[in-house]
Symmetry: C2
Subunit: 411 residues, 2 copies
Amino acid sequence: MTQNVFAENYADRAAGFRPSPVRSVWDVSTAPGMISLAGGNPDLHGLPLEQLALAAQRLIGEQGLDSLQYGSGAGLPELREAVTAIMAYSGVQASADDVLITPGSQMGLELVTAMFCNPGDVILAEAPTYVGAISTFVGLEAEVCHVECDDDGLIPEELEARITHLKAEGRAVKFLYTIPNFNNPSGVRLAQDRRERIARICANAGVIVVEDDPYGLISFDGQVTPAIRSFDSNVIYLGSMSKIFSPGIRVGWVLAPADVRARLQLLSEAMVIHPSILSQYLALEYLTAFDWRATLARSIERYRERASALLESLSRSEGVLPAGSTWTKARGGFFVWATLPQGYSADELFELAVEEGVVFIPGSAFFADGSGSRSLRLSFSLESPEAIREGMRRLARASRRLTPRYELVSG
Amino acid sequence: MTQNVFAENYADRAAGFRPSPVRSVWDVSTAPGMISLAGGNPDLHGLPLEQLALAAQRLIGEQGLDSLQYGSGAGLPELREAVTAIMAYSGVQASADDVLITPGSQMGLELVTAMFCNPGDVILAEAPTYVGAISTFVGLEAEVCHVECDDDGLIPEELEARITHLKAEGRAVKFLYTIPNFNNPSGVRLAQDRRERIARICANAGVIVVEDDPYGLISFDGQVTPAIRSFDSNVIYLGSMSKIFSPGIRVGWVLAPADVRARLQLLSEAMVIHPSILSQYLALEYLTAFDWRATLARSIERYRERASALLESLSRSEGVLPAGSTWTKARGGFFVWATLPQGYSADELFELAVEEGVVFIPGSAFFADGSGSRSLRLSFSLESPEAIREGMRRLARASRRLTPRYELVSG
C-alpha cells in the first residue's frame, strides 16, 4: 500500500499536467553548437550590470533588514506606483491602489484564472496563444477555445460569433485571454480599431477581458498602440518586467478594479505570501534611478535587426521553408510564426532541424486543441543576426530533407 | 451589465478567500509605539549584511546575464544540492534530484495541495495549525480536520481514530499536514517516539504525510529531532530559507519522491515558471560561502533569551493572564500558545491589548473550524527582551480589564 500512496491520491487536475514542449526543447537547445530560435529570452547584454550591481549592494548593505524581511502582500507601494508610469505609455490611466505585484505575470494569470474559472469553464484565446497560458488553464481544468486571427490579430466577428455559439450551448464563458501586442507566438499586433470593439463585444456579453502585455513597448517603429484596458477600465491587465528588464527576478503585476485586486491579493498571499522583496526593490531601482527607456530603445534596435535577418532569410528566392509556406511579419516583440503548406509536418521538420543544428518550437504547443501541426515559432530575440542567418541556412537544409505526406491531405 | 462582469463570473472557490487575520493585525502592529508579539518575522540583525551586499554585487556584476535571465523550473542544481545538506541535520537522506526549489515553502504547500486535493477532500492538521496553511487549503476547497495535540505534539491515537472515523464516513483523507518542530502557533515539538509511529499510521491508511519544517533548526537546546521524513521516504518534506536566512527573498523547497517531484515541477512552471534566480543565487551563496550555522546559533541564542523573558513574565506570581490560564513552554521556534480559562475571550483581550499598546494573534486564526477563541499566539522572535517584558506588562493591564462571560459557559 505504501508504494501507491501517491498514485491513489492524486487530484483530478493532476491528469492535465503535461511536460511543457517549450521546456523539453530547452534541453535540446542548450547542446553545444546549437542555434536556438526556440526560447523567448530577452537579450540582457544592454543592461547596465555594473551600476545595477552597486544598486543591489546598497539594497542589502544599507536596507537589508527591510529588503530581506517579510513585506506587503500587495507589493512595495513605490513599485506599485512606478508600474503605473509604464502602463501610461500604453494609454492606461491606473491607480497604484489597483496594482498587485506578483512573482512574474505568469502568477498573475494563475491568480486571475483561479479566481474566475471553475473546472469546465471556457476561456477564449487567440489561435495560436502563449503555451504557458495553456498550462495554467489546463492546470485549473478550464477549457480553452481558440478564436481565429488574421494579420491584424484577433477577428472581432469571429470572437462575437464564438461567444454567441458557446453561450447557446450553455457554456460558461469566463474570459478572453489576449496578447494584443506582438503576440506570443504569432508576433502579430492587434489593429488599433479592433481594440475598442473587442472590449465592447466582451462587455456586452458579460465576458471579462484579460490583457497580457509583456511586449507592448517592444515596438520596432516606436509606436505603442493603446492597450485594450485604455478603452475599458474593467479590463484586467497583466504587466511584466521580464522583457523590459529581467525575467530572472520574477516581477510582474496585475491591474484590476479595486474589489478584484483585493481578492486577488488574498489568493496571492495564500499562494506565495508576497513576491521577493529584493526583486521588487531592484525592479524599483531600475525604473526610477536608471534611464531604462534608453536602454530598452537600444535593445529594441537589436531585436529589430534580428527580426530583419530572420525575415530576409525567409524571403530569399531559394527559400528556407517549402514553397507555399507563409509567415507573419514581426513589427515588434520576439517572434515570427511560420506555417508550412498542406501535407507538411512541423514536428518532422523539428527532428530534422535538430540534426542540422537549429531548434524552434513546433506549433502544436500553442494550441489547446491539437492543431498547429504545420506551424512553427521562430524566435529572434537572443541570437545575433549572423547566428540567425546561419540558423536559417540550417533550417533550409532541414526543409529540403522534408517530404510532404500527400496521403494525409484530404482536400 | 458591465458593472457586474466580475460578480457574475467568480469561481466557486472565490467564496473561500477571507482576509488573513495575521495580515489584518499587521496594520495595527506597525502603529508607532506598539509592541508586536504578533508577527512571525525572524530577527535579521545577525546577518552579515555587508558581505552579503558584496556577494549580491558580484552576482549581478559578474553573473548578471545568468542571474537576471530565465532559468530552470526545478531550481539551480547547486542550490538543490545545498539544501540536502540542511536536511541532513534533521536525519534526512535526500537526493538533489528529488528537490524542487519554490518561491517560498508557502508555494510548496500550494503545489502539494493542488496536486492531491479535489474540492471536499480532507486534510488532517494539528489543532492549532499554521494560519497560512489554512488559507491555502480553503483556497483549494479542501476541508481541514484538526487532530488533538498535547505537550508532546500530535497524539498518534487521536490521529488513527480520526482517520478511521473519516474513512468510515466515506471521506477522502488525502494527507496529514504537520509542523512537528516548534509548531506555528503552538510552539510544541513532536516527541521523537511519536514520529515513526505517525509515519506508520499514515502509510498503513494510505494517507500522505506533508511535513512542514521551517523551525527544525531553531532549537534552544541544540538538539535537532530527526524529521518524520527520516523514517519514511514517502513523506513529502517542505523546507524554507525564511527562518534560517531571509523570508524576503522567497526561497523554499519541496522534497518528494522522483515522480511526485516531477509532477510538482510541471505545476510550478505553470504557476510561476521558476523562483527568482537572483534569490536562489543569494541563498546558495549564503549556504556555501558563509558560516551560516554560526550566525544561526547566535540568532537562536537571542530567540532563547526572548522566549525566557516571555515565559518568565507569564509565570510571575501576580500573573499576566487571568488565573487558570495555561501556556506552552517553547523550547525552540518563535511562539508561545496561551489559553485563557473558560468564559474568557481572546478577541476581547486583543481589543484591550491594542488599547494598551501590545498586539498578538487571536487563536481562532489557527483553526479552520471556528475554535480557538480562548487562545492567543505570542511571538517572541522580533522584540528585545526588554520590549517583551514591557509588552507583557501591557498585556497584564489589558487582562485585568477583561471580564469573564460566565453566561456563555455551558459546563
